[in-house]
Amino acid sequence: MPSDASPGLRLSITNLQVSFGERPVVRIAEFGLAEAEIVGLAGDSGSGKSMTTLAVLGLAHTVGARVSGSIRLDGTELTGLSQRELREVRGRRIAAIFQSPAMAFSPVFQVGSVVHRALRLHGMSKAEATGAAARAMRQVLLSPALLDRYPSQLSGGQLQRVAIALAVALRAEVLLADEPTSALDVTVQAEVLELLRELRDREGMSVLFISHDLAVVAELCDRVAIMQDGRIVEQGPTGQVVTAPASPYTAELLAAVPRLQAGTGP
């Protein structure tokens, strides 16, 4: 099997270990994302998917976890960086969206002011930030006028798009998407998936898509890694993994997906 974490990767993880005290919760030998590639990280609750996201963002310590091993972004080692240096990377070069977009915004600020503030923090002038925010909103197929609204005045799908727009405005190279559609209607989910595909194709964005739902992964991802108990038990091209799973755990996850036409009915 060819090495997935070869030097050509945009984001590459080698011998990553995330532990709480003596207890390792993530142990990944090799994993990575190429440019313009959507890679799925799939597994149950508690399999270590979200801890992996936190480690890549340099935020694992905030929940009391310790990280060892290597996480490289375009060749730059991230694990040794200071928090100040990491702030340059996090948010700007590596953006993240989460299951509940409402939590990414403050209910008392218009969403535009949150976006604007983030863009200013990453070095844009006021005028640049205003222009970049409006352009990014159009790219995610939203009217820039929605930036004047409060989170409660937007739907979940619209808010998730605004969160993605922020990543677009910062020209993030890597987007970490942690269950970004699990809280959305299926129709809205389909639209967000389509948007992620467009960003891959048009912007060359690399997306790490974290999900418990292999059907969503099968629709979206170029490659997939299956995680169980903190380890990657299987990885490869999505079509191959979902049609001929090598691990019994993958087969279990596949069997859990509801079938639209089970045929028999109740």
Partner: protein
């Protein structure tokens, strides 16, 4: 004018009959003329639609949790709105609800056993002393270790908490359950286990239920019939397998095509709906779906489509239902799949 009911058309008195139901929140017509019929259990009716379609409001109206602005809800032939005193208490026992998020329906400071026993005490079904034992039996029935009775909700996983919520609903031996997005907060493996539990309970207890969901994917194994809702109205209803294999309303087609599928060959062409559902306080004229409908013609902008039979057992509110039905029957009917050919009649 009363619309024909979606759901079971069996002879005799249905368990639940909703006629021309209307619910308003200020200017918002959350439910606007919905008729449904639910046979006695074991029977499942799926209510499917996006956020804002009115599906949860219908479930709450059935349980008298929201005020009704028009229409009737009859349970075993009796008008639910007219129930008072002991008759109302009887109804509260006969009809129970399971919510999406067990975190909000279980008291975090109450041990699981006490939560399950609470309705038993409230309805004086068993003595206070035997309630604890009954609670343990109920936990076992939903597949939990009876020892969980001594734990607090936060010590359980999301799937386990949902089982507790189901055990609590079952404690008063209801004949009707409203399952409001019971698996939307769970991961797929936990979801599959809860769906299997519902399938087992419906057989063991002859349960009838309304299964409310935004995901057409989960109604196929649990619901004989399904009603698709859009902006407070039923746009299509019919036998679930037929409705899934050959939708007759363009909105059902869009919902169907949005369900992610593992098998690339099974994915129908995506029907993308432009825009968001319109504001329910000022619905568009004509067919409420027309601004987003890929098939809308001039007639759709002015003339409200009545819910009518487009095929035996199938009700559709669309001027072009026959064309949609013919096209989707051609497009997605594949007798080879699962070795289970599915007809449309």
């Amino acid at each position: 004018m009363t619309q024909p009911p979606a759901g079971d058309g069996a002879d005799g008195t249905p368990l639940l009959e909703v006629t021309d139901l209307a619910v308003r929140f200020g200017p918002v017509r959350a439910v606007d003329g919905v008729s449904l019929r639910l046979a006695a259990g074991p029977f499942g009716l799926g209510l499917v639609g996006e956020s804002g379609s009115g599906k949860s409001t219908i479930g709450r109206a059935v349980l008298r949790l929201v005020a009704v602005a028009g229409g009737h809800i009859r349970f075993e032939g009796k008008d639910v709105a007219a129930l008072r005193g002991p008759a109302l208490k009887q109804y509260r026992r006969a009809a129970q609800i399971v919510f999406q998020d067990p975190d909000n329906s279980l008291d975090p400071r109450m041990r699981v056993g006490a939560s399950v026993a609470e309705p038993l005490n409230a309805h004086r079904i068993v003595g206070r002393r035997s309630a604890a034992g009954r609670a343990r039996e109920l936990l076992a029935e939903v597949g939990l270790d009876p020892e969980f009775a001594g734990r607090y909700p936060h010590q359980l996983s999301g799937g386990q908490r949902q089982r507790v919520a189901i055990a609590r609903a079952l404690s008063v031996e209801p004949r009707l359950l409203v399952l409001d997005e019971p698996t939307s907060a769970l991961d797929v493996k936990a979801q599959a286990r809860i769906l299997a539990l519902i399938a087992r309970l419906r057989a063991d207890r002859s349960l009838a239920y309304l299964l409310i969901t935004h995901n057409l994917g989960i109604v196929s194994e649990l619901c004989e019939r399904t009603a698709v809702l859009y902006l407070g109205r039923v746009v299509e209803s019919g036998a679930t397998s037929e409705l899934l294999s050959a939708p007759a309303h363009p909105y059902t087609q869009a919902l169907r095509s949005a369900v992610p599928e593992i098998d690339a060959a099974a994915r129908p062409a995506r029907v993308v709906l432009p825009g968001d559902p319109p504001d329910a306080s000022s619905p568009p004229p004509g067919c409420v779906f027309h601004p987003r409908c890929p098939l809308a013609v001039d007639r759709c902008k002015t003339e409200v489509p009545r819910l009518r039979a487009a095929a035996p057992g199938r009700l559709v509110a669309c001027h072009r239902a026959e064309e949609v039905l013919a096209a989707s029957a051609r497009g997605t009917l594949d007798p080879g799949r699962d070795g289970q050919p599915q007809g449309t009649g």
